[in-house]
Each structure stands twice: as structure tokens, then as C-alpha cells.
């Protein structure tokens, strides 16, 4: 095996392509099958329970999007740092980032479900006629049509309705804040309105498509050109791209996830989603290169030394995730201001307490000690297990971020639609990614720094 791959390394660059007969050549068909089944189920779900479906889809969308965005981030950041050690594995995140435009299509169910998802939709055009509007909303709530996820929705409630539903959110008392919450949300309507919301979403997808197109197309054109000019142009655009990336990711997280509870805010929320993206994408890079290497496709291009450094990055971002998550929690816990604490109230009641604690244990405590040792990071199968573990935790984390708003009581409830949505979003995205994989060399064979990367060693 070792000698075989060694000869492959020296062979023509075409060797880094997926052979026609390899299982990986058909992986996209499997993913596409998953996607089709998922989409069919999603169609049933949408016609059956559009409210629950909207949340399931948003959860799946944000879960998979984080991976694609994180991969884009690592491509950009490698160019910004002028890194040569990462060249041999850079094509994998490039291919995963090149799937970003797919999310513009996958966003459609969210775009059509804005009414179901976002409580701020009820506040449109209410600046002038606040009282009239709240009455109407009271009626809507009584008919069970509108969304209640947060105290925000309760904010407009009057009398009995508020008491009844407030109890369901865990006995949290809202009475003094009602009027204030409604005002808070209405003050945000200039930002949180459908026109601007869709406009921003278009901008995000445009920026992501542009960034992924730029960095991936340059890199693939370098496969044949083999020049250093391409590297330099990617390097010179990387800093600006990082700014564009950071701003779009932050505001996308604000728009699509944080505005589920529009009266609540956390300035670190965008960073939190970024940390989720960084951990999950590194886990994906490790898991996918491990699988490709096991299939003999990568030869010896990605070695223990690369995995060791990737493992260190994953470990570092794991700690970063915990740091950010805990910082947000502690500030809110310490200040104990009612309109801020709702966020954690919802994730502590209605069955969420166990989930939250399990997440803290499974997403931080266990992988922290597991991935700490150098010996684990250098035993690639164990590292790959850690990566797979973190991917599972990533799904749970996104579930935790989105789903407390899914049903009126805010209780923890798993639904088949959640699974169907993950199948649909993940299947469609992976089908595109795996198809691209069959068409490109799996390492940037024309990058002038490839040889340095192949000889990379952790000193």
C-alpha cells in the first residue's frame, strides 16, 4: 500500500483524480438520491405543516451552510496568510465552498416562509397604528396562526393569552416588558422588513458566490497554468475577501437566526455562528480527506503532519466555540435582564435542559479532552472519529440554535421533518460537491508551493 501510493505521488497529476470505477465517483449519485427523497418528503411536509417545516428547513439550511461557509473561510485565510503547508489539502475546502451558490436555491423555502419563521413580520407598517395592530395580533394568536417562539411574540399579547402561553415558555413572567418589547421590535422594523431582508439575502449569496467563484476558479486554472501570478492575485484579494466574508456571515446569522427572537440581541451572535462554521468545516475537511486518502485517491499528498495541524486548528476552534458560547451565556446570566435571559430560559425549559447540558458535555468537555493529546491528533483514524463526533455535535448545536422557536410551547420535540430537511439540504449540497469532486484533481497540482506542502512537517 505504502509503496503503491508512493509511486502514485510521483506519477502524473491525473492520478489525483477520482478513478471512474471508485466508489467516490458515484458518491454524488447517492447524495442526489438522498436529496431527491428529502425534497419529496419536504414537499409533503410543506403542504402538511408549513410552520414546523419552515423551522426544520431553517435548521437544516443553517447546519449545512455553516460547513460551506467555514470551508470558504479556510480557503481565503490560507491565501491571506500565504500558507504553503495547507496547499495539499486546500482543494477539498475549495470544492466544498464551490457549492455555496446552491444555497441560494435552498434558501427559497425560507424566503417563502418568512411569515412562519420571523415574529417581526407581524410588526410591519405598525409605526402609526400600534394599538390597532396589537389587537389584530391578539386575534391571530388566538387562532393559533402566528409564531410564538419567544417572549417577543408574547410582547404583544394581552391578558389571558399572555399568561397561558407565558406559562408554556417556562413560567417566565413578561408582564412588565410587553409594551417595551413591542416597541423594541418596531424600532427594528427599519432593518427587519421583508424588502430589506430579501435584499440582504441576495447580497449575501452574491458575495459568497463571487468569493467562491473567484478563489476556486483561480485555483483550478492554476492546475494547468502552474504560475505564481495566480497565487499572488488570490493573495492580494484575500484581505478584502475576509472582510466581505466576515460581514456577510455575521449579518446572515443576525438575519436568519437571531431575528427568530427579534427583541433579543447578542452582539457576539455572528461570531458564535462563525465558530460553529469553523469547527464543523474543519471536521468536514478532516473527515473527507481521511475518507479520500483511505480510498487511495489522495496518495500521500495529505500526511500525518497535515492531519496533526488540522487537528490542532480544530481543537483550537473548538475551544474558541466554547469560549464564545460561554461568554455570551455568562454576560446574560450575570446581568439577568429579562429581555436577554429569555434566550436561555427557552433552552432550559420544556425538556431543553438535558439537551443543553448534553451539548456542553458532548460539544466541549469530551472532545476537548479527547483531542488534546498530540498522539490522538497524529493517529488519523482517531482524529477522524473526533471529526465525525464534532459533526454530529454540530447538527445538535444548530438544532439547539433554531428549534426552541419551532413550536408554541417552545418544548423540545423531534420531528420527522427535521430529518427530511437535513436529507434534502445535505443531499442537494453534497450532490453538487461530490460531482465537482469527480471533475477536478483533488489537490491543487499546479500550485507552485505544492512541493513545500508535501514535505510539510510539524516541528
Amino acid at each position: 500500500m505504502a509503496s503503491e501510493t508512493k509511486s502514485e505521488k510521483k506519477a502524473a497529476p491525473e492520478r489525483y483524480r477520482i478513478p471512474r470505477e471508485a466508489a467516490w465517483a458515484n458518491a454524488w449519485k447517492l447524495a442526489a438520491g438522498m436529496g431527491v427523497v428529502g425534497l419529496a418528503l419536504a414537499g409533503v411536509a410543506w403542504s402538511g405543516d408549513p410552520h414546523r417545516f419552515a423551522f426544520s428547513w431553517l435548521f437544516a439550511f443553517m447546519t449545512v451552510l455553516a460547513i460551506a461557509l467555514g470551508c470558504l473561510f479556510f480557503v481565503i485565510i490560507q491565501h491571506m496568510a500565504g500558507a504553503s503547508w495547507s496547499v495539499s489539502w486546500r482543494r477539498v475546502p475549495e470544492i466544498f465552498a464551490s457549492g455555496l451558490p446552491v444555497f441560494a436555491l435552498l434558501f427559497l423555502p425560507i424566503a417563502f416562509s418568512v411569515d412562519e419563521l420571523y415574529p417581526w413580520m407581524e410588526h410591519q407598517g405598525q409605526h402609526d397604528a400600534h394599538e390597532q395592530a396589537t389587537e389584530q395580533e391578539g386575534g391571530e394568536h388566538a387562532s393559533g396562526e402566528s409564531i410564538l417562539g419567544a417572549s417577543t411574540a408574547l410582547a404583544q399579547e394581552h391578558g389571558e393569552a399572555a399568561e397561558g402561553e407565558g406559562h408554556a415558555v417556562g413560567g417566565h413572567e413578561h408582564t412588565p416588558q410587553h409594551a417595551q418589547h413591542a416597541e423594541t421590535i418596531e424600532a427594528k422594523v427599519a432593518f427587519l422588513n421583508p424588502g430589506f431582508f430579501y435584499g440582504r439575502a441576495l447580497l449575501y449569496f452574491a458575495v459568497w458566490a463571487l468569493l467562491s467563484w473567484f478563489f476556486v476558479s483561480r485555483s483550478t486554472s492554476q492546475d494547468t497554468k502552474r504560475d505564481f501570478e495566480t497565487t499572488k492575485s488570490m493573495q492580494s484579494w484575500a484581505p478584502l475577501s475576509t472582510f466581505a466574508f466576515a460581514l456577510t456571515l455575521t449579518f446572515a446569522a443576525f438575519d436568519w437566526m437571531m431575528s427568530l427572537e427579534p427583541a433579543w440581541y447578542s452582539t457576539i451572535f455572528g461570531v458564535q455562528y462563525f465558530s460553529v462554521a469553523a469547527v464543523s468545516s474543519l471536521a468536514t475537511i478532516i473527515a473527507v480527506t481521511y475518507a479520500l486518502k483511505n480510498a487511495g485517491i489522495l496518495g500521500e499528498a495529505v500526511q500525518t503532519e497535515h492531519y496533526h495541524d488540522l487537528g490542532k486548528l480544530m481543537f483550537g476552534f473548538l475551544v474558541f466555540w466554547a469560549y464564545i458560547s460561554f461568554s455570551q451565556f455568562m454576560l446574560i446570566w450575570y446581568a439577568s435582564i429579562p429581555e436577554e435571559t429569555t434566550y436561555y430560559h427557552m433552552r432550559w425549559n420544556g425538556g431543553w435542559q438535558t439537551f443543553t447540558l448534553a451539548l456542553a458535555l458532548g460539544h466541549f468537555i469530551f472532545p476537548f479532552f479527547f483531542l488534546m493529546s498530540r498522539n490522538i491528533k497524529r493517529r488519523v483514524s482517531l482524529l477522524a472519529f473526533g471529526a465525525a463526533w464534532l459533526l454530529v455535535m454540530h447538527v445538535l448545536e444548530c438544532f439547539w440554535l433554531v428549534m426552541p422557536y419551532a413550536n408554541e410551547g417552545g418544548g423540545l420535540e423531534l420531528h420527522w421533518m427535521d430529518v427530511a430537511s437535513v436529507l434534502a439540504v445535505g443531499g442537494c449540497y453534497l450532490a453538487v460537491v461530490f460531482f465537482r469532486m469527480t471533475q477536478l484533481p483533488l489537490i491543487p497540482v499546479g500550485d507552485p508551493r505544492l512541493q513545500r506542502s508535501l514535505r510539510h512537517e510539524v516541528v
Partner: protein, 191 residues
């Protein structure tokens, strides 16, 4: 002969060998030489290069550093020390209600646990590194050699210390000469 020695009383002080210093001109040479010294079973020896030579750890047969374990122990100590301190002072010894929180509340002690973990880990890492390297140390016999000055410039050295169990004045010389160094010298110290 013996007469002469009697006439000239022995040198004021006796010299004893402390190490062999072999000089090489390229990293490649010192790399293969290091592998041979490793395979010969020496333990108290070292390679001196002007820059890090990739793979040298393996060529020298160095095992993983024990520093990680020291740092881990220090980190866990710091973490539990912080938790214990806050739990005892705030929760048991002198309970105070701050901000409406219970006298001892876990979340507020996490930053302190974090900080003390980092602090003691850093102490453990720096002091442990110094200890494992037997530093600080004001002198080492390799500096008796004037050629060793080029060890920070363009020459590569292997030093084999006399305190090694396998060290033998003749055998070690034969081994080192077989590695074709550009220069080989025995460094002696006045005892």
C-alpha cells in the same frame, strides 16, 4: 620515559575527557550520522545545527517530550484550585449574595478557573521546559571548542558525552570517524 615524567612533575591538573565533538558540513551528513549514533545505542548525546533540520527528532530517536504531561497536571491543578478557592470562600467560609446569585454559583467561577488553568499551564510549560533542558546553565563543555562557534552559522555538530554508559575513548572515536566528519575532536576538562 618514566624518568622524564618524574623530572617534569605531572601537569598541574589532570584532564579528563568529557565529550567528542564531530563536525559535519551539510544537514544531510549530520542527519545520517545522527541515525548511526542512535542505532549504536547512545543516550547522552546531542546534535547542534544552525537551523531546525526536519526529521531530526526521528533521526535522533527522541521520544515525545514529557512536557505535555507537566502542563496537563499544572492546568488541572489550576482549574481545580480556582474552583475550590471560590467554592470555599464564597460558598462556605464567607457567603455573600452578589447580584442576586446564590453564594456559590458555578458560571461566575468559570472565568477564574479558565484564567488559573492558563496561568499555571504557562508556568508549567516555561519552568518545565527549563527543567527538562537543565537550564539555566552558564556553561557547557562544547564551548571549549573554537570550531563550535560555527554551529550557529554553517556547520553541524554531533556531541557524544563521556557520561554515556556506552562511551569508550576508542570505540566511540571509531564510530564517529566512520561517519566521516570533517573534523573530530576530543574535548577535555580539567578535573
Amino acid at each position: 620515559m618514566s624518568d622524564e615524567e618524574h623530572v617534569k612533575p605531572a601537569r598541574p591538573k589532570q584532564k579528563r575527557p568529557v565529550l567528542y565533538l564531530a563536525e559535519f558540513e551539510t544537514p544531510g551528513q549530520v542527519f545520517t550520522a545522527a541515525e548511526k549514533v542512535r542505532d549504536a545505542g547512545y543516550r547522552r548525546w546531542d546534535v547542534h545545527t544552525p537551523f531546525p533540520v526536519h526529521g531530526m527528532d526521528g533521526a535522533m530517536g527522541l521520544s515525545d517530550s514529557r512536557l505535555g504531561w507537566i502542563v496537563l497536571a499544572c492546568g488541572l491543578t489550576g482549574c481545580s484550585l480556582a474552583l475550590g478557592l471560590i467554592w470555599w470562600t464564597n460558598g462556605i467560609d464567607y457567603p455573600l449574595v452578589i447580584g442576586g446569585k446564590p453564594p456559590f454559583s458555578f458560571p461566575s467561577s468559570v472565568p477564574v478557573m479558565f484564567e488559573l488553568t492558563i496561568l499555571l499551564s504557562a508556568f508549567g510549560a516555561v519552568l518545565g521546559m527549563l527543567g527538562l533542558n537543565q537550564l539555566p546553565r552558564h556553561h557547557h563543555p562544547v564551548f571549549y571548542s573554537s570550531r563550535f562557534e560555527r554551529g550557529t552559522d554553517d556547520r553541524f555538530f554531533i556531541s557524544v558525552e563521556a557520561s554515556d554508559d556506552k562511551f569508550d575513548l576508542d570505540e566511540t572515536r571509531v564510530l564517529l570517524e566512520s561517519l566521516s566528519p570533517s573534523h573530530l575532536e576530543l574535548i577535555q576538562e580539567e578535573s
